[in-house]
Subunit: 212 residues, 2 copies
Amino acid sequence: MTDQKIPRATAKRLPIYYRYLNILLDADKTRVSSTELSDAVKVDSATIRRDFSYFGALGKRGYGYDVESLVKFFKKILNQDRLTNVGLIGVGNLGHALLNFNFHQDGNVRISAAFDVNEELANTIHSGVPIYPMTDLRKQLEEQQIQVAILTVPADVAQEVTDDAVAGGVKGILNFTPLRITVPKDVRVQNVDLTNELQTLIYFLEHYNHKD
Amino acid sequence: MTDQKIPRATAKRLPIYYRYLNILLDADKTRVSSTELSDAVKVDSATIRRDFSYFGALGKRGYGYDVESLVKFFKKILNQDRLTNVGLIGVGNLGHALLNFNFHQDGNVRISAAFDVNEELANTIHSGVPIYPMTDLRKQLEEQQIQVAILTVPADVAQEVTDDAVAGGVKGILNFTPLRITVPKDVRVQNVDLTNELQTLIYFLEHYNHKD
DNA sequence: TGATAATTGTGAAAAATATTTGCAAATTCT
DNA sequence: AGAATTTGCAAATATTTTTCACAATTATCA
């Protein structure tokens, strides 16, 4: 919104930087150069400087970057400074695992509500997260002002559930279904298609014998 | 190996094409044109033809593509025609879910062995998959000729486990740990960093108000 | 203090990747 | 046979990402 468009490639590296910077912070390092970072995260130092530069001048020439302020900066950029509540839609196999999955290693993302069609699951609490019936999806999302949803429902209901979630105010969806859901253009979808990932992996395996 | 390098963007679209072609097949459609496909999968028809052309001349001018042979062809390309055995390393939350996860909707991928350090888990069977102690990792991978592994271990042991798996002959790793593991260049790693995906999603959410 | 070394930030070039155009060639359809 | 389709593909274009290269700035040390 405020800042200009950051390249997708850069955005994807931000969490990687952030993670390593935190390690440095824990190790009480006060400064770090792009070259040092480069070694650790396996990204060319020029690329790192370029990436950082999209956010302005974060470093000091002849010195490098101050670890603490860099962490603080990225914490803000990556919304790690406040809790983001996330809804989990579909408590099957995968959904269940994600309930237990420790998303908030660095303490910013929390699944605060889950939904399932299964009446028996509904109104119980799993891993500290209340599970609501699917019929309450929209209402609960609205009430709890949840803007991010993880979609782990069967493919055949993916679209209708999505529509419902969007109606409930969701603006970002982490989509684990193999379906390419359709959403209004102000809603962002990030697809995580595990089957697809495996297939692509196997494809490359069979057809090339090298990394890239 | 045999075929030349296919662009990553193309490779990622293959499963999408494949999925839709199967739908056509089920609906007893015998032919399809790139234009028709285009509508369905939301990819420009020229791009589709370009994509297909990497694999040779699959269609007939003036006619289009024969659905059945196309499906057959992609089935082979995507290794859907034979079972790929996969090892699951680390039966924690996520690992457990993946054991149950129906990877082989179209019947080609099967987790045939799982591994965990937990002595109590080892030597039991979960969801029909035998769980071996981590100490047997290399041996079992070798014996069962497993070339693909799903890595769902804690980050702090990710690298050593990887080394072990690679020693056991693994050529492809679906890496769920947040660590960027180091492997020989003939081993391919596909990273699935859920925390990262969520963070990136949230980042885009906060910073742009449009899809792309 | 002044010289030397380190390091950023960034314009511009280069490289990599991906899409689109345009059309000859082949095929079908009537 | 002639019109209408539709592929396959070379080449052009567009987009995205990385890298180069160096002035500007700051730190460090003799």
